[in-house]
C-alpha cells in the first residue's frame, strides 16, 4: 500500500487507514520474522544438509539472502521468495505477450521478463488446427498468423539449449487475442492457479490472467474443444466454417456495446485492485465488478477515490470473514 497515491479527503483517508490496519492485523504473523533483505543471514539451525535454493548463497559458511523477500522452507530446502520481483518464468506458466518481431521461423515476444521470449512457428498450432507441414510456404505466411504488435497468449515451454525462453501454444485456445484490453499489473499479484483462462459468462468476456502480469480482458471467443470437434468433417466443413466465421466477424465489425462496457468495467476493477495491491483472482474481480454495478457506478467512476476506499473496506471485510470461517 506504500506509494499509494490517491487524492482522498479526510474521511476517506481515515477509512482506508482503518481498512489497511485491519488487513495488516489479519495477515499471518508467522512469516513476518522470515522476511529478509539482501545480505541478511538466514538462520539454519546448524543443520549441515541444507539445500540452498533460489535467492540464497553461501558466504563464509553462512547462508545469505541475495534477494529481498520471505524465506521459505520445504523440508531441508531454503529459498527466498522475492516480494516485488520482476516476472520470472516457470515452465507451464500461462502468459500474455506482445509480438515485437517476426523472425525466421519464430516470433519474438515481449513478456515483461528480462529477456524476450521466442515462439517458434513449430510450437504454434495452425489456425485451423491441422497438423503442420514442413514447407517454406508456412514460413512466408507467418505474418498471417501473428504480426508485430499482436497480443498473444501462450504457455512457457522452458529455457532451451540456446538460452532463449521458449513458448508454446498447446491447443486452440492459445493464440492471438483480439477485441479487448491488455492491462499491465505487477506480476506478483497474479496468483498461480490451476486455471488462468476464465470465461465470465454473465458478461460474455474472456479473462486471461497471465502469470507475467499481463492481463487480458476481451470479448469471449468460442474455442472449439478439440476433444469434441468432429474431425470427420474437418477437411471441408470445418475450413468452410472457419472461413465463414472469420468473414462473419469482419462483417460484424464491432463488439456489442454491452460487452464493451463489461470489458471496461472488469478492466477497471483489476486496475483498482492492483493499485491497492491486492491479490488478483477471478473471484475477487467478479466481486468488485458486482460491487460497482450494485452501487450503480459508472465505469469511469470506478477509478474515483470513493470506490478505492470501498474496495479496500470490502477486502478487509472479506478476509476477516474468511478468517472467522477457519
Amino acid at each position: 500500500m506504500r506509494g499509494l497515491q490517491l487524492s482522498l479527503n479526510k474521511n476517506q483517508k481515515l477509512r482506508v487507514e482503518r481498512a489497511l490496519e485491519q488487513l495488516e492485523s489479519l495477515s499471518l504473523k508467522s512469516n513476518s520474522d522470515a522476511s529478509v533483505t539482501v545480505a541478511d543471514n538466514i538462520s539454519v539451525d546448524c543443520e549441515d544438509a541444507i539445500l540452498k535454493g533460489h535467492g540464497t548463497t553461501e558466504l563464509d559458511g553462512r547462508v545469505v539472502a541475495t534477494l529481498c523477500g520471505v524465506v521459505e522452507r520445504v523440508n531441508k530446502l531454503v529459498y527466498v521468495r522475492a516480494l516485488r520481483a520482476r516476472y520470472k518464468p516457470e515452465i507451464g506458466d500461462i502468459i500474455v505477450g506482445r509480438v515485437i518481431e517476426v523472425a525466421p521461423k519464430r516470433w519474438r515476444l515481449e513478456i515483461n521478463f528480462s529477456q524476450d521470449a521466442v515462439l517458434m512457428l513449430s510450437s504454434m498450432n495452425l489456425p485451423d488446427g491441422i497438423q503442420r507441414r514442413r514447407t517454406a510456404i508456412d514460413e512466408l505466411n507467418m505474418r498471417s498468423i501473428f504480426e508485430e504488435n499482436d497480443v498473444i497468449c501462450a504457455e512457457v515451454r522452458g529455457f532451451q539449449h540456446d538460452g532463449c525462453l521458449h513458448l508454446q501454444a498447446r491447443s486452440q485456445k492459445y493464440g492471438k487475442l483480439e477485441r479487448g484490453q491488455l492491462l499491465t499489473i505487477p506480476p506478483y499479484l497474479v496468483k498461480k492457479r490451476k486455471q488462468h483462462f476464465h470465461h465470465l459468462e454473465q458478461y460474455g468476456i474472456d479473462l486471461i490472467l497471465g502469470c507475467n502480469g499481463y492481463v487480458w480482458v476481451g470479448e469471449h471467443v468460442e474455442v472449439k474443444d478439440p476433444m469434441l470437434v468432429d474431425q470427420s468433417n474437418k477437411s471441408e466443413q470445418q475450413i468452410a466454417d472457419a472461413e465463414n466465421s472469420t468473414s462473419a466477424n469482419e462483417v460484424e465489425t464491432c463488439t456489442p456495446l454491452e460487452t464493451r462496457q463489461n470489458i471496461c468495467r472488469t478492466a477497471n476493477a483489476i486496475r483498482v485492485l492492483s493499485t491497492l495491491g491486492f491479490m488478483i483472482t477471478v473471484e475477487v474481480i467478479t466481486e468488485i465488478v458486482n460491487l460497482s454495478t450494485s452501487l450503480n457506478l459508472d465505469i469511469h467512476e470506478m477509478l474515483g477515490p470513493e470506490f478505492y476506499v470501498l474496495v479496500a473496506e470490502k477486502e478487509a471485510e472479506r478476509r476477516s470473514t474468511l478468517r472467522k470461517k477457519r
Binding site: K52, V74, Q131, K194, Q231, S232
Partner: protein
Amino acid sequence: MKLLNVINGVNRQLIFFYNCKAVDKGEFHIKTSFCGGNHIGGSNVKDNVLCDFYKISDLLHNLEANMESLKRKLLEDTIKDSEAPPLKQHRENGLVGLDDSVACVHDVSYPEGYVPLNLTLANQEGVKPAKEFPFKLDPFQSEAIRCLDHGESVMVSAHTSAGKTVVALYAIAMSLQNKQRVIYTSPIKALSNQKYREFKEEFSDVGLMTGDVTIDPNASCLVMTTEIWRSMQYKGSEVTREVAWIIFDEVHYMRDRERGVVWEESIVMAPKNSQFVFLSATVPNAKEFADWVAKVHQQPCHIVYTDYRPTPLQHYIFPSGGNGLYLAVDEKGKFREDSFQKALNALVPVSEGDRKRENGKWQKGLVVGKAGEDSDIFKMVKMIIQRQYDPVICFSFSKRECEFLAMQMAKMDLNDDDEKVNVETIFWSAMDMLSDDDKKLPQVSNMLPLLKRGIGVHHSGLLPILKEVIEILFQEGFIKCLFATETFSIGLNMPAKTVVFTNVRKFDGDKFRWISSGEYIQMSGRAGRRGIDERGICILMVDEKIEPSTAKLMLKGSADPLNSAFHLSYNMLLNQIRSEDGDPENLLRNSFYQFQADRAIPELEKQAKVLEEERDSIIIEEEDSLENYYSLLKQYKTLKKDVRDIVFSRKHCLPFLQPGRLVCIQCTKNDEPSSSFSINDEVTWGVIINFERVTGLSEDDVNKKAEDANYTVDVLTRCRVHKDEVAKKTIKIVPLKDPGEPAVISIPTSQIDSLSSARLPIPRDLLPLESRENTLKKASEVVSRISKEGIPFLDPEDDMKVQSSSYRKTVRRIEALENLFEKHEIAKSPLIEQKLRVLHQKKELTDKIKSIRRTMRSSSALAFKDELKARKRVLRRLGYITSDDVVELKGKVAGEISSADELTLTELMFSGVFKDMKVEEIVSLLSCFVWQEKLQEAQKPRDELEFLFTQLRDIARRVAKVQLECKVQIDVENFVSSFRCDIMEAVYAWAKGSKFYQIMEITQVFEGSLIRAIRRLEEVLQQLIQAAKSIGETQLEAKFEDAVAKIKRDIVFAASLYL
C-alpha cells in the same frame, strides 16, 4: 552404423571370398590383410582398411547378386537335402500362388455420430502410391495401405513374421512425401535402434531418440521408445504439432503390467489431428481397441486382421527322456490326438530323486543326463541337425537356464572352418570398439568359442554389444542353434526354421504356470523363414504329463486379448495437473480401461435381469425354517472340511498314506454342481496305492498353498466309467457293492474322508484286471468284517498326532451342531433333500446377482476414481500440490522424475541427504532405485553405503506410510524392500573409475543387467539435474553432472552396433 556397415561389408565379401576361393586366388590377399588390420585396432590403420574395403566393395558390387545365389547354393549343398524345396530367394517369388488363399479381415470402427465421407475413389486411382514395393503385397498389407491412402488410421493385427513392417514403411513414405513428420515408437530400446537402422537405409531423413542416444531429433521421421514419446507430449514438444502419422509398433505391449499404461497415456494424449498406425501381434479383440481409438480421437479406425502365416507351422512334442518327435498339430492346424497320447506315453517318468521339488524351487525337468548319457537338449539339437531342421532357436525362460543349456552343447560343432573364420572376424571387428580390458571380460572371451561352433546365447544378461553381435551372426546364418529367452521373440525379423520350447512352464513372478497360448504364438512366430522354408517347426519339450485339453489350449489356443493394464502413477498425475489443459480425470475417462469397463455394463445388466427373473420364479414353502436348517448344514459342512483340512494337511497325513491302507473316500456325486444335502456323505472304501505331488493346471494351484492340497493319492476302488460321444472318459467312484470296474484313480487328499488303521497287502502288478478285482474283494471283505465291530479309524489326536487347539475347538462345535440337527423339525420332512436343493439353487442365483451388481457398480463409476482421490491426498499431504491443485516446488521436482520412484527420490532430495554425500555415494545410492532383480546371495555393502541405504529405506517407509494413511493400497514392507542394495558396491566402484571386469568380480549379477541398470541410472541423473535446476540448487546440479560424467564411459555406454 559405420561398424555394422563394415561388418556387413566384411561379411558379404568373406562370403564371396569363400565362395570364390577356388575361382580367384588374387582376391584372397585382401581378406588376410583385412583381418590383420582389424586386429591391430588402431584407428588410423582401421580407417585405411575401411577405405580399402569400401573400394573393394564397390568393385565387387556387381558381383553381389551372384554371391547371394552362391551363398544360397552353398547352403543348399551343405544341407544336402535331396528333398529340399526349390529355394526361393526373395519374397516375391515365395509368395506367388499363396496369395489367393491368404485371407484377412477388414473392419472399420467409426466414432459415434460419424458420417463416413464418400471419398470418391476415382481421384485416388491416378495418384502414384507413396511407395512401391519390389514384391507383391499380401492382401492384408494392401488392404492396410489402402486405408493409409485414404488418410485414415489403421490397426494391423498379424503374426510377427507376416510383414507388418511394410505398412509402417508405407506410412513413413507417405508422410515424407507430404512433408509431414512421422513418429515410430517401439517398446524396446534395442528394437528402436534396429528400426532406426532399417529406416535410415530406406529413407535418409530419419532420427532416433531413446533414453541412451539422440540422433538428428529434427528429422522428419523419428524413431523413439514409447516412454520418450509420452514425455515429449507432456513437455509439449514441437513434434506434437507437426506429426501427421504416429506408428505404434508392438502395441500389444499395452497389456504389460508395468509399462502398458505408457501406451494408453500416449494414445490418449496424442495430437487430435494425427493419424495412427498400430501394429500388433494377433489379438482377438482388435475391434475393441479400434473402437476405443475411434472414440477417443473421433476418427475412423480400420482394423486389418489376419491369422495368416507365410510359412505354416507344424507342432511336435518331444517327451523328456524319449527319443523321438511326435506330431501334435499339423500344418493345417489339426490336433493329432493319437500321436499326442503316444508322446505322453513315451514320457519317461522323472526319477524319484527329482521329485523333491517341495521347497519352492522347481527344478527343471531338463535333467543333466547321468554319466555317459546325453541330456535331452543335446539329443534334441543333435536330432535337429541330423534332420536339417536348423537353424533353431531354443527358448527357455531364464537366463541361467539359457546358459546352462548352451553349455551342454559343448561337444557339438555346427560350423565348418570357413564359417569359423568369418564368425571370428565379425566378432572381433565388433568388439573392436571395446577397450583391451573389456575384451578380456569372461563373457566376451567365453562366448567366442561357442559362437564359432555355431551355437549362440541370447538373453538380457548379455553385454548389449554381444547381444547385437549374436543377432547379426544369427541373421547371417552363422549361428545354427541359438538359446534365447522370450525377449528374442519380439521385434526384428529374425526367423529360424525350428523353434524349440525347452519348457512348458514359465515362472511369472510368483509361480510356475503353463505358457499361455499368446506367448506360444508369439514365440512360435519365429519358426519358418519366409521364402526359404516350406514350413516352420515348433517343438515342445514336455517333461510332465499334460492334459490333452491343456496342450490343445496352449498349442492351438487363441492369442491373448489386449486388455488394459492401466494404473496411476504420481508422475503421471503431476504432469497432468501441471499442464493447463491436463486433467487426470480426463485421462481416466478416456483410458482403454474405462472403455472396456463401460462396454461390459449393458451385457452385465442383461445377465443380472435374467438371473433375477429366474430367482423370483423359484417359490419354496416354509422358506424360513428351511433356510435356518440350510445354514446349519452349511456350517456343519465347513466345519467338517476344516477338520479334514487339519487332519489331512501334509504334515499330518503323509506318513499314513502308505500303500495298502484302507481309506474311506467320498463317492462322486451324481449331480455335480449342487453338493449333497444329507448330513452324511456317501462314502466308500478304497486301497491306497501311491501318492504324489500334483502339478495340475496352474490356475488351480494358485489358491492352494504348497502345504495342503498339492498331493493326490492313487486309490484302488470301484468305479463306473462312462464314455460319452466326445470320447471323454468320466470316472465315478461308486460304493464297493455297486457294479463297476476296479480302477486306480487319483484323488485329492481333500476327498479322503478318513483313514483306517487296517492295511492290506497289495499285489505287485495291478495291471491285470483280476489282481485288481481280487484286491478289492479282499478289501470289501475286510470292511464288512470290521464294520461289525466298528471300523478302527486312525484317531486324529492319538494316532496322527494332530495337536492343534483349533482342531479340538472345531470338533466340539461339530458336536454341538449335531445336537441341533436332531432338534430340527424340518429335517424330518421326507422331501427335505429336494427342498434343500431348490433353496441352494436360489441362494446361488442370489450370490451371482450380487457379484454382477458389484462389478457393475465398480465399473460404472469412473475407474480409479477413489485411487485418484487417495493419490491426490498423498500429494497434498507431502506438499507436492496445493489444495486447489496447483503444483508446488516439490511437485515440479517429482514431475521431472520418471525413471525411478518419484516420491521417494524427491523426498530424499529434499531431506538434504545428497548434500553431504560424495558423488560416488550418490551414484551408489541411486542404484537402489533402478535395480529390481532379486539376488539370492548378495553381499551387504560396506558400512557407509549401508548407512545411506538405511536412510533411503527410512524415507521410503515414511512415504509408504503416508500413502497408506491416505488410503492408497500399498504394502509398506513390500514397497520398502523394493529398493535393493545389491549393486551398490559395484556401482560405487564403477563411479570410482574401476574397470568393468573389476566390478564384475564384485557382484554376481549378469553383465547385461548391470549395464542396463547403470544406463537407467544415468537417465535418473539427467532427470535429477533438471530437478536441481528447477529448485535453483546449483551445487547439487553440479554434483549430478559430475556423477553423469563419472559413470558415462567405456563398455557400459558403448554405442549400439546398429547405430
